[in-house]
Structures are given as structure tokens and as C-alpha cells.
Symmetry: C2
Subunit: 201 residues, 2 copies
DNA sequence: CGTCTATTTGAATGTACTCAAAAGCGGTGG
DNA sequence: CCACCGCTTTTGAGTACATTCAAATAGACG
């Protein structure tokens, strides 16, 4: 089916009638990005919210010293972007970049208002999606604040094995709040520990 | 006026008719907490959202090692609590504690639904409030990720001088993601730097 | 195949933490 | 009103976790 990943995403939170699905489907556009291309940039108002159909992307922040900090990672099925900017239609602080050839389903802010007005079920869906994003973000921050680098990576790789496979360690390191070199060392320690455990058993 | 801090808070985002204000005012309850008393605890569903009328409070997280991490601080005029828990009516991860004798205006989740249904302007208000909370939280996390301890405190004390005055350094240190001892050293360094600058001028 | 980027590894460094002790401050009761 | 108690803040010494820099290796892409 066309846009089946979008339907699947909706169905995680709500159920739709055929008409509702047709409506949503008609208001969605498809966008294709090359590796390294920006989906949006700092200072822009994020006019679209994006669902990844294929490929992967990262959302990141550049601080005053020019350092990049990854805020969010996404692969097929994940909604990505600067939520606060999109929701509030305010200037964003973040960049979103395709990490490989990436296909995206996009809904514009205007079309989303149309959806809200014609079918309240979508208001419910996006409210839930945003609430979940907020809660996940909070959860992640609490984890980062309270665990050391090794446990952060351990939990990440168990929670998101697909991300861990598909996305380069450089970006995962930044997402986890450590340098790329240090993640390399962390992984080495973990591997050695696992070998130890095998021998003991 | 009764509950004037609540009216002031509403008026930051929306304007209300007399009827709307009467309605809201009637659905608000007042709650008083002693120093050290918990407004809500981890594992509970946060049934109320709270606006501080007087006093102060902190929202914090206890990790698996028993360490506390302050997520939010509030004084008069601030809404506090575990937003994700209240919005989603799910089990919270956070504690909220009064830091001194504290008076709070509370709206229950049920009363909030009544408000939403009778006067859509409140739906707009709380959507904006939550969006702002999310955006602020994101902003703060990006700051914490990308600045060292000294700049974090410098920006905090400039942005929230009232918090800096009213709340103990122990909790501010935790909010800023550093130990209380280290914040003490940071402040000392800043004072010395300011003396230096005076001499040079 | 060659170039460019990502990853690994090691050494030196640094920022912030822990622990311990002293000093300061505020509240309470005798 | 003063003395004491408990909590917060300050200070110093030692330490640990993670960073930076540099160089070597591996891997991806045209």
C-alpha cells in the first residue's frame, strides 16, 4: 500500500476510518533527500513534520563553540525534526540532516490544521505523539544525567538495536553525550567483559 | 483579588472573559505544604497541575544509585510538577517537594477536562503552556550539554536571579548538573574574576 | 585503486567529583 | 538572650571519568 508506514504510525495510537485515511493520505507529500542534505536548519521555522520512510537522519544542535550535539536519531518509522519549532511555528535551534539517501513523508503545518479541523482524530494522534516525544525526551535526559558512559551505551544498544546497527558510531556517541573516541573505548571494554563472562560460565 | 497569580498566568498567553475567569476560579483548589513535604512522588499519577502562589519547590529524580537530580525549580508564578505524568495520566518518575512553607493553586485533571469542554480558550492556554515547557526543557538540556559548569551557572543566575536568590545552592547545583561543592568553587572563581575586571577598568 | 572519512588506540590532560574537615548560618529551646 | 544543634556552604587534597590530540588502521565511495 502507498504510504503504509504512515498508516502503521497512525495505528499505533488511533484507529482511522477509510475516509480519514484517504484525507490524511492526500495531504501528505513525499520528499527525497541525498546523503548529507539538510531537512531543516537552525533559524528556520520547521514548516513540515517528517516521518522517515527509508534511510536515516539526525537532529543536532551547534553551540557557540561550533560543536555539534545530536539530539535525536531516526530510521524508518520514526518522526523526526525540531518539535518545539514545528509545534509553536517558531524559529528552530536545530538542524536535521539525512545520513544516507532518505525518503520522507511530510505533513505541512497548514495541512495539519486542515486535518485537525476535518477529523479530530488527528488532533488526538499528534497530541499523543508530541506528549510521547516530550516524555521520551525527559526520560532520556534523566538517564544521561544519572548514568556513566558505559551504562548509557549498554542501555541504548539494547533499547534501539536497529539504530545501533544502522547509524555511525560518531553520531551515536554524540547522541549519548560522549566523544567518538571514548565510545570506541567503551565498546571495547564491553566486548572484553563479555568474553570474560563466557569463560567463567 | 483572589488567585490573582492564576489570572496573571493565564493572561501571559490568552485573554479571558469574566465568565471564563469565574469558571476557572471555581475549579481551582488551594493546597498548603510544609517545608519538606511532598507534592507528589515517583510512581504516582500526578492528578493535579500546580501553580506556586508563595514559597518554592523542586522537582527531582532519584536514580538507581539513590542520587537525586533536580529537574525543575519553581517560585511564585511558576507551574511545577511532572508534566508528562500529568498530561498523559501515567505513572510519574519524579518527586515534587516544597522547599519552604508553600501555598499552591491546583487544578485536577478532571476539572481541566471540564474547563477544556466549557471554554476552549483553556485548551489553548494549556497547550501553549506545555509547548513552552517542552521547548524550555529542550533549550535547557542543549545548554547543559554544550557549556561548562561556570557558564551554566553564569547564564542561570542572569536568567533567573529570583531563583538564584530564593533557592539553596545545593538544589541549584543539582539543577545545573554539578555537585554542591563544585558550585561553591565556581561562584568563588566568578567573584574573583569580577574583582579582577574592576581593577582593570 | 586512490581518496576521504570513520574508527581504533595510546598518551597526556583536564574538568568535575568524592571525601573529609572546618566554618557559617539559622532555628529552637532552655 | 544565649547556646546548641543541624544543615548548608566553603575549602583542600586526592581521584576518576572522560576529553583532546596525534597517529595508525580500517572502511566506504567514486
Amino acid at each position: 500500500m502507498e504510504h503504509d508506514i504512515l498508516l502503521a504510525s497512525f495505528q499505533k495510537f488511533v484507529s482511522l476510518t477509510d475516509e480519514e485515511w484517504q484525507l490524511a493520505s492526500s495531504l501528505v507529500s513525499e520528499r527525497t533527500f541525498k546523503k548529507g542534505q539538510f531537512i531543516n536548519k537552525e533559524g528556520e521555522v520547521n514548516r513540515f513534520t517528517h516521518l522517515i520512510e527509508s534511510g536515516s537522519a539526525r537532529v543536532f544542535y551547534i553551540n557557540s563553540d561550533g560543536q555539534e550535539h545530536v539530539v535525536q536519531l531516526g530510521i524508518r518509522g520514526w518522526w523526526i525534526g525540531d518539535f518545539p519549532s514545528f509545534i509553536n511555528q517558531t524559529q528552530g535551534m536545530l538542524y536535521t540532516e539525512a545520513l544516507e539517501p532518505t525518503n520522507i513523508l511530510a505533513i505541512s503545518y497548514e495541512n495539519l490544521q486542515v486535518l485537525y479541523n476535518k477529523a479530530p482524530v488527528f488532533e488526538r494522534f499528534f497530541r499523543l505523539l508530541i506528549q510521547k516525544a516530550y516524555a521520551s525526551f525527559q526520560y532520556r535526559v534523566l538517564h544521561n544525567m544519572s548514568m556513566d558512559a558505559e551504562r548509557r551505551y549498554e542501555i541504548f544498544s539494547e533499547t534501539y538495536p536497529l539504530l545501533d546497527q544502522q547509524i555511525s558510531q560518531k553520531h551515536i556517541a554524540s547522541y549519548l553525550g560522549m566523544s567518538a573516541e571514548f565510545l570506541s573505548k567503551v565498546k571495547k571494554r564491553l566486548h572484553e567483559r563479555r568474553k570474560e563472562n563466557k569463560r567463567i560460565r
